[in-house]
């Protein structure tokens, strides 16, 4: 149970923002709220990823299913994932423009004594909004397979929208660092010390941003964690700040869906309704 912090507004302080990651401190929120944010970022941000692969030709040394798996894990630019429907919510059967993106790839090695790399750059998207990510024109792309002379791969891929809960390929972030209380003032943990704490436990990276306990400071058993150090690293399909913003949006959505649910079912009688959704 978090203590009521209604009078103090939650605060988010961005410490560092690059193309790959955002580092921020979230203060004046409860642990459950902070963790919810972390969990949503990890598992519920919608992105686009290749979900179906149709092989027309594959004479490479790698097996079809293995290439298909690799294709699935290639991050596609998902900044506009909002604008596309989930396949399951679409009226079409299977895939359509509304709910999917088609990508094609056709690579053949024709040169002698050369190993041709098949990379994510060879994937041609039918929708310019959703393309395999690329860091500048010099980026060689993500390696998919290697071909020798005469080998050829021709595939048609259908990318769909999804969340990481379903499959890790839809995860926009590589890792979410999360920490509170670097000085262990709350005594949530016990550092195992063999001889010398200074030598064995290097200070946390976030210690500089926290407030070291004063000498002989009394243990406040009422204290609750309320200052959280985040670092969100993207795999490239989304800007890191978008991940955070989308996570907030998603959180809001979740809460409002509860609100909606409460208002459509007229109050207490809700439990008498037939639960046909199960």
């Amino acid at each position: 149970m978090d203590t009521y912090t209604g009078t103090i507004k939650p605060e988010l302080k961005i410490q560092e923002l690059t193309a790959e990651k955002v580092k921020f401190i979230l203060t004046n929120v409860g642990l459950s709220m902070a963790n919810a944010l972390r969990r949503i970022m990890l598992s519920e941000i919608a992105t686009i990823a290749i979900d179906m692969v149709e092989f027309e030709l594959n004479t490479s040394v790698l097996a079809d299913e293995f290439i298909a798996h690799r294709l699935g894990l290639i991050p596609l630019d998902s900044t506009e994932a909002e604008k596309i429907k989930y396949s399951r919510e679409c009226n079409c059967n299977g895939a359509c423009k509304e709910c999917s993106v088609e990508l094609n790839m056709h690579v053949k090695c024709t040169e002698e004594d050369i190993t041709k790399d098949v990379t994510s750059r060879d994937l041609v998207s039918s929708d310019p909004r959703f393309t395999p990510i690329q860091e500048g024109p010099k980026d060689p792309g993500i390696l998919i397979a290697k071909l020798r002379k005469g080998q050829e791969i021709k595939v048609k891929c259908i990318a769909k929208k999804g969340v990481a809960k379903e499959h890790a390929k839809w995860s926009p972030c590589a890792a979410v660092a999360f920490e509170y209380d670097p000085f262990n003032k709350l005594r949530h943990t016990k550092y195992w010390i063999e001889e010398d704490e200074q030598r064995e436990w290097p200070a946390s990276r976030n210690a500089a941003d926290d407030f070291a306990p004063g000498d002989g400071e009394a243990f406040d058993f009422n204290a609750r964690p309320n200052r959280f150090y985040f670092e969100v690293e993207t795999i490239g399909s989304m800007k890191p700040e978008d991940i955070v913003m989308n996570a907030f949006k998603k959180l809001l959505e979740k809460i409002s869906s509860i609100q909606m649910g409460m208002s459509t079912n007229d109050g207490m009688s809700g439990r008498d309704q037939p639960r046909d959704s199960y």
Binding site: A34, R38, E65, H188, K190, R199
Partner: protein
């Protein structure tokens, strides 16, 4: 720190394979004993062992009339012998038109044929005393060892090997028989040419006066065949020599042999045996008695003795009638008595030595030699065994010629040796095909031999070199077996790890647990086996220079040994000479200097302190040497040698266990087992492999933590697992009892993803001559649905997904009027068609009749699959846990694998903790961590070494980290030990093991459910299971399991006579039963002749079966019944 993964170096080797040298030369050395022993069969300078063998095969003398063996009139004599054996490289036969005639091993593997070369012999014959004729005779196709001097891959280097569809670092050392790779096992056998004192109860079982004392010597001829001679000690002090001929044992008084060997009188023998020890009455008494007893034979001179021997044994040895008794006797002495020696004088001297050792053993002056100790053992090499077999089969060839003539004479067919036609015809009619016999030996491992080859077993000589993963494959070539004879032994003495064996020759760690424990060992990675006879010609003259003529004064021995050892480093004597010195002791081993220079000995390198050079030492001499392990172990004036590395005692696999010195020893044994069951990288030429089943890990990695040997052997080419982030924490309860949790997201990203390749062969007509009746293809009658999976040629499309019952291929059967016949895919798992091979016949003329279809079955990890770290810590996957719910560290790192801390206290695999720390900092700094055992010590501990690195990377010194619960985000009370551990996926997978049944097939005799997964049978509900249900009082459940769900049956019983067999169903008696008109069938007891006592009872069908069986033996079962009320 620079990176030490050698990634670029490896990439370079792979992209530009050299045509001049091997990238990993160490790998080639590992199989050397196999290849060199095969090469020595036909090595050019001496023409090889087979040449010696051919000389040793006796010519066969055949007569054209039937003659008693001692008559003088014998008719014409045909003498046949073999002069030369030639084995060619595997080539296409002359009848086939082809541009390239060479056959390469890859073709044999893919076509399921035998990699063999043409074998010819130079067969010579002579009629009476006319001129010698000869003929080159084809005797079949002899299987050839890959990469031997008869293999087309010999002297090829990576570039050419790849061109020939081999591994880039192909090592060879095996045969290919019907497409299967076979290795001849290395066997431990008694050391050759060394007199062993033995005390064995079985020796006493040879006769009434025999005792358990004896001396035994296994004599090796130049062609590596052996003959064992044993001298028995009789109760009265006499000595009998025993030898075996064609699996029969024969005993001869030793004095008879001594007198037959050289011309000597009793006094001479006495003096030789006693050697001046006249005060030793134990010795003199027995020698006197022995000589006395021989008097009863009434023969004295050499000639008499030899003739006596010849007369008694000529039948057994089937000696030619043209030989006199004396010639026969001399022949026998040459054939069976101390065959390693040429001269009779030497044989006599050795007999003297043997008898003296025997008497000394009986008197208790010396101890028996331990036949289980490697001191008294050597290795029977594959090539040598193969040579022995060829020799025996060649001898059989000659005998078969004799048999043909004998049959002709017996059937009164004309026999005319002077007729050229008859002779050619004779050779053609005799059974000279030995290639097939050799292939049979390799394919089955069974030794079909009438002499037994002086070996103790008849089967189990060969094993399949399974390419399950590379570690298992390489171990096949390094394993030595004690012999299948010893697997039956009830005592454990043969399995014991003796100090003299594990010191560098045989790995103390790498042996399986269970039945073959201690019998199936592995050579340490530096152990060598001598395959060519080293140059020791100078030794006798050197010894003579040192003044050793006959006997040696005790005090001089050590200095002579030292001088000899120093000479080993000069060119005169080979470094491979073994100088064994057993010092005189009180009741110890029989003293003396023993020099060993023959093949098949185990030797290993150590450093000689006197000159700091690498010396080779053998198993015999090591026992009496002082070898220090480390510098600090050197004792001045005592220690002579020092180990090059402490890890030299370990086998390859044992060496690869990281920090194995920190583990409890059995765990290292388990790891050696599990490394061989790992789903790894079997081969880099998978597209050219046709193994029945191949396991492959798609996402293999190089271990971050590995010993130096990993690089030396180039094991990065064959990754065996993946580096996993492992947290040691009790989380969720799904990690209880050795279960482990895998991160679901890691799983989805391909963690431990594996594939199985299965080979299916479809063969239509085996015999081409009678005309081809079946053709692959789809006929006009094929339904369109078939064409979705199969092409017009009747073969599946590459990449097709096959479900159970889908068509695998189809063919048109002419015998059924052109009907299309479909072969179905029978597996229960979905498979993809990976490759289709059309296998032609040897001539390449006929229409294809055989195809091989490689199927690919994807095997992502599922719950129930088995994994293990490299420390004998195996676990079963119990849950794929969602990433968000996994615990995480401050940096957001989430483990791939969670294991329970309870896996550690009792197993004490501290090595795994060290690996975890080492892996963690290795990953942080991008370096490969050296995990060679014994790198660290009390002063320089692993914990400090890696702890410092961890702190530098910003982690806790001990590898702990504070972690947070994934579900609540709350920090755990305890810090969690988390790091990087190399994990293996084992080949045991639930998909191959699950078994389920509700109703199904039953046994037709007992009506009980059958067993076995393949037949969809049940799992036995046994006695102990029954007991537990009883103990719980669950009688209804018990009845349900054992009766209702098993062999429930009903039958009629007559309550009066108590029989279940006498009730008969009768219709004729229908009218008699007027008041029970509804009964259509009337059942009545045939004996009591009434239906009054008939009841229907429920009994297990098995009981009925029992009653029937008893009835058939005349035993009647009477059942007493009680009314159910």
């Amino acid at each position: 720190m620079p990176s030490t993964f050698n990634t670029c170096e490896r990439e370079r080797l792979f992209l530009n394979p050299s045509d001049k040298k091997f990238g990993i030369p160490e790998l080639q050395k590992l199989v050397k004993p196999h290849i060199d022993s095969f090469n020595s069969l036909l090595e050019p300078p001496t023409k090889g062992i087979l040449n010696y063998a051919v000389i040793d095969i006796d010519p066969v003398e055949i007569f054209d009339v039937k003659v008693p063996y001692n008559s003088t009139a014998q008719g014409n004599k045909l003498k046949v012998w073999i002069e030369e054996v030639l084995i060619s490289r595997p080539l296409l036969s002359e009848h086939v038109r082809a541009k390239k005639r060479r056959i390469y091993p890859a073709e044999c593997r893919e076509r399921f044929t035998t990699y063999a070369g043409k074998m010819n012999i130079k067969l010579c014959w002579k009629i009476n005393d006319a001129n010698t004729n000869f003929e080159t005779k084809y005797v079949g196709m002899a299987p050839i060892m890959v990469k031997s001097n008869r293999c087309n891959l010999q002297n090829l280097f990576p570039k050419q090997l790849i061109e020939n569809h081999e591994e880039s670092e192909e090592m060879g050392g095996y045969f290919i028989v019907n497409g299967i790779e076979k290795v001849i096992r290395l066997l431990l056998v008694q050391r050759r040419n060394y007199v062993m004192a033995i005390i064995r109860p079985s020796l006493a079982s040879r006769g009434a006066s025999y005792t358990e004392y004896g001396v035994s010597i296994r004599c090796a001829r130049q062609d590596q065949t052996t003959m064992t001679n044993i001298i028995h000690y009789l109760k009265n002090g006499n000595c009998m020599l025993r030898f075996s001929w064609k699996k029969q044992e024969y005993m001869i008084p030793v004095i008879l042999i001594m007198k037959a060997l050289i011309e000597i009188n009793d006094k001479g023998i006495f003096e030789q045996l006693v050697q001046g020890e006249f005060s030793n009455t134990f010795l003199t008494d027995r020698v006197e008695l022995m000589l006395q007893e021989f008097k009863s034979f009434g023969i004295q001179s050499k000639e008499q003795c030899v003739s006596f021997l010849g007369e008694k044994f000529r039948i057994i040895f089937s000696i030619s009638p043209s030989y006199s008794h004396k010639q026969a006797g001399e022949h026998i002495l040459k054939k069976v008595i101390l065959v390693h020696l040429k001269h009779n004088r030497d044989k006599f001297n050795l007999l003297i030595f043997m008898i003296r050792k025997l008497y000394s053993l009986v008197a208790g002056e010396c101890s028996p030699d331990n036949s289980d100790s490697p001191q008294n053992q050597e290795i029977l090499l594959g090539g040598h065994l193969y040579g022995m077999l060829i020799k025996e089969k060649l001898g059989d060839c000659l005998n078969s010629i004799r048999a043909v003539v004998a049959a002709d004479i017996a059937n009164n067919r004309p026999v005319d040796f002077n007729d050229k036609k008859y002779i050619t015809n004779l050779f053609n009619r005799s059974n000279m095909e030995i290639g097939r016999k050799l292939a049979y030996f390799l394919a089955t491992g069974n030794l079909a031999s009438n002499s037994g080859l002086d070996l103790m077993q008849t089967s189990g000589y060969t094993i399949v070199a399974e390419k399950l993963n590379f570690y298992r494959y390489i171990s096949h070539f390094r394993c030595v077996h004690r012999g299948s004879f010893f697997t039956q032994m009830k005592t454990t003495t043969v399995r014991k790890l003796l100090p003299e064996s594990w010191a560098g020759f045989i790995c103390p760690v790498h042996t399986p647990d269970g039945a073959p424990c201690g019998l199936l060992n592995h050579l340490s990675h530096t152990c060598r086996i001598i395959t060519t006879k080293p140059n020791v010609e100078m030794v006798p003259s050197i010894l003579a220079e040192m003044g050793i003529i006959n006997r040696l004064a005790t005090g001089h021995a050590q200095s002579i040994v030292n001088k000899l050892r120093l000479l080993k480093f000069e060119d005169e004597i080979s470094i491979d000479l073994e100088i064994g010195y057993i010092p005189p002791s009180n009741g110890g081993q029989y003293p003396g200097i023993y020099l060993f220079s023959e093949q098949a000995r185990m030797m290993r390198p150590v450093k000689y302190l006197a000159n700091n050079e690498v010396d080779m030492i053998g198993t015999f001499e090591q026992v009496y040497m002082n070898i220090a392990c480390l510098e600090e172990d050197v004792i001045k004036d005592v220690t002579t040698h020092i180990e090059i590395k402490p890890t030299n005692m370990l086998s390859i696999l044992a060496n690869l266990t990281p920090f194995s010195d920190y583990n409890q020893s059995p765990r290292n044994m388990y790891q050696c087992q599990m490394a061989k069951q790992t789903m790894g990288t079997p081969s880099t030429a998978i597209m050219h492999r046709t193994d029945n089943k191949l396991y492959r890990l798609q996402t293999g990695q190089t271990p971050i933590v590995r010993p130096l040997l990993h690089n030396t052997l180039g094991l990065d080419g064959f990754p065996n697992g993946t580096n996993a982030i492992v947290a040691v924490i009790s989380y969720t309860g799904y990690d209880m009892e050795d279960a482990m949790i895998i991160n679901k997201s890691a799983h989805e990203r391909g963690f431990k993803y594996g594939t199985i390749y299965k080979s299916e062969i479809v063969s239509l007509d085996e015999f081409y001559d009678s005309g081809i009746k079946h053709h692959f293809g789809l006929g006009a009658d094929a339904p369109p649905s078939l064409r979705e999976k199969l092409d017009n040629d009747g073969l599946p499309f590459i990449g097709t997904r096959l479900k159970m019952g889908d068509p695998l291929c189809a063919y048109i059967d002419d015998t059924q009027g052109g009907k299309t016949i479909v072969k179905q895919y029978k597996g229960s798992e979905d498979a993809y068609v990976d490759k289709v091979r059309l296998l032609g016949d040897d001539s390449g003329v006929y229409e294809v009749q055989k195809v091989q279809i490689m199927l690919r079955i994807p095997r992502p990890p599922v719950i129930g699959d088995k994994f293990s770290s490299r420390h004998g810590q195996k676990g079963i996957l119990s849950r794929l846990w969602p990433q968000v719910d996994m615990p995480f560290t401050e940096s957001g790192m989430q483990p791939d694998i969670i294991i329970n801390p309870h896996a550690f206290p009792s197993r004490m695999t501290i090595g795994m903790f060290v690996e975890s720390m080492a892996g963690k900092c290795g990953a942080m700094f991008g370096v490969a961590q050296d995990s060679t055992p014994f790198r660290f010590n009390e002063e320089f501990t692993a914990i400090d070494y890696f702890g410092e690195q961890l702190v530098r990377a910003g982690y806790n010194y001990h590898g702990n980290e504070p972690m947070y619960s994934g579900t609540t985000g709350e920090e755990f009370q305890a810090d969690i030990y988390i790091g990087v551990v190399y994990y293996q996926r084992l080949r045991h997978m639930v998909s191959d093991k699950w078994q389920v049944r509700s109703t199904g097939p039953v046994h037709n005799l007992t009506m009980q459910p059958i067993g076995g997964r393949k037949r969809s049978g049940g799992i036995r509900f046994g006695e102990m299971e029954r007991d537990s249900l009883l103990a719980h009082g669950m009688s209804f459940c018990l009845q349900d399991r054992l009766m209702n769900c098993s062999d429930f049956s009903q039958c009629h019983i007559c309550r009066k006579c108590g029989s279940i067999f006498t009730s008969l169903s009768l219709k004729t008696h229908y009218q008699l039963n007027t008041n029970r008109a509804y009964k259509k069938h009337h059942i009545q007891c045939n004996i009591c002749e009434t239906s009054r006592w008939i009841s229907l009872v429920k009994i297990p069908y098995a009981f009925r079966y029992l009653a029937t069986e008893l009835a058939s033996m005349g035993v009647k079962i009477i059942l007493k019944t009680k009314d159910d009320d």
